[in-house]
């Protein structure tokens, strides 16, 4: 049945290409993560606010961004907005940031809601303004609560970055395709990059769990898988 000859040599030979692809994946992921965190904080806080207008806008953003496939997001920036002449990297980052930002927003909103209401009242009762209370009392606690979900989102973002290969960003999956085309080592190359993604994703989760207090929350965490 299996007449496949394993040959990992060509994979090792192509390690330069693989390394470049890996770096590009990290680049796309890191920039998108930063932007999606900002988006998520703003939209998520709006979603948890007392203002109905803010909550509605937040919900609209989240539902619109989340219910459209990431692939379509990327094509929109790459093709529909082609007149902007954005480089592929930027298109991928924009698509990924808006999509993931919506997920971060939901997690942030839930995290803020999970902080005991009495905490906000106690903070206000000592004369802190709403903004101060959010910054000093609510956000720090919300961050600890959502750390496991954030770890999961971070991992998901790294995996989602593989779709950038479709709009010709030369990240890891794109590199795999190129190597496969040259060496015909189909099985080896895809297993190799799977393992690389696994390593990336595990490392990312561990980094997020370094947030103080995060490990306690993880014991009872339910992962907000994207």
């Amino acid at each position: 049945m299996m007449t496949y000859q394993f040959d990992w040599g060509p994979i090792w030979d192509a390690r330069g290409l693989i390394a470049q692809g890996l770096l590009m994946t990290i680049a796309v992921s890191a920039v998108s993560l930063a932007i999606s965190i900002v988006i998520g904080l703003v939209v998520g806080s709006g979603g948890a606010s007392n203002s109905r207008a803010a909550r509605t806008v937040s919900a609209l953003f989240v539902e619109t961004m989340r219910n459209v496939p990431l692939l379509i997001h990327m094509y929109v920036w790459y093709m529909a907005f082609a007149f902007l002449r954005l480089p592929a990297f930027t298109c991928a980052v924009l698509g990924l940031s808006l999509y993931s930002g919506a997920y971060v927003a939901e997690v942030v909103r839930a995290g803020i809601g999970a902080v005991r209401r009495g905490q906000m009242q106690a903070a206000l009762a000592t004369g802190l303004t709403r903004l101060q209370a959010m910054r000093l009392v609510v956000y720090p606690q919300a961050l600890r609560i959502i750390a496991p979900s954030l770890a999961s989102l971070f991992s998901q973002l790294i995996k989602d970055s593989s779709l950038a290969s479709v709009i010709a960003v030369s990240e890891l999956t794109y590199a795999a395709g190129a190597i496969e085309g040259q060496t015909f080592r189909t099985f080896e190359v895809y297993i190799a990059i799977s393992i690389l993604y696994l390593i990336l994703v595990t490392a990312a989760s561990q980094i997020v769990m370094l947030v103080p207090g995060a490990r306690n929350e993880a014991a009872s965490a339910s992962f907000a898988d994207a």
């Binding site: 905490q119 009242q121 009762a125 000592t126 004369g127 802190l128």
Partner: protein
Amino acid sequence: MSDVPTIEVRDLHKKYGKTPVLRGCSMTVRRGEVVVVCGPSGSGKSTLIKCINGLEPYHSGSIKVEGVEVGAKSTDLPRLRARIGMVFQHFELYPHMSVLDNVALAQIYVLRRRRPDAYERAHQLLARVGLQDKSNAMPVDLSGGQQQRVAIARALALDPQAMLFDEPTSALDPEMIHEVLQVMDELAADGMTMVVVSHEMGFARRVADRVVFMDAGEIVEDAATEVFFSNPRTPRAAEFLSKILPH
């Protein structure tokens, strides 16, 4: 003794949706007075005191703290709240900060005290409530009674003109109630203006100047302590007392 009452509530009305929660409540608290507010659950006692420092909005009527209308749009609520301390039933210490930081936080960010001054005052207050050796502990390491005493210190840190207590001992195991009531006794003896929502009738008898009895959103009785306990005017108050006193 100032002429302006510290807290003045007039004909206060509040609804949650369609349900009335406060129906025309009026009461006055003068400087140095200790008022205990009691009544069955759901009578609106907690809601009333949360209206006093603006944590809950009200629909009609007036609440004036040192002459300033709490519900007026022009009122600087954070500033008003800095002049009234509040202690909550569930303590609500900030779990992500040490005890010392809990007591110092508002001093730094609201009163804009310099950090060394804030921390020193915090140490003083923790000593006053008997917890000076716990200043570096985290709230989760403390017992309920200890946490509540820290909460009192936190409220005192802003040198408030009055203190509001929302059922301060209701969430405590019986053996810890005493340590908190003792701190409150001392506060009252020092002349602090206090409004205390509580079922602790022993405390009321010992320390309160007046007792206010609420039922179903109304203030049913408002009398000097001895008068309230020995000769309640209304049947509802008498019934409440008979249920709550033997224990």
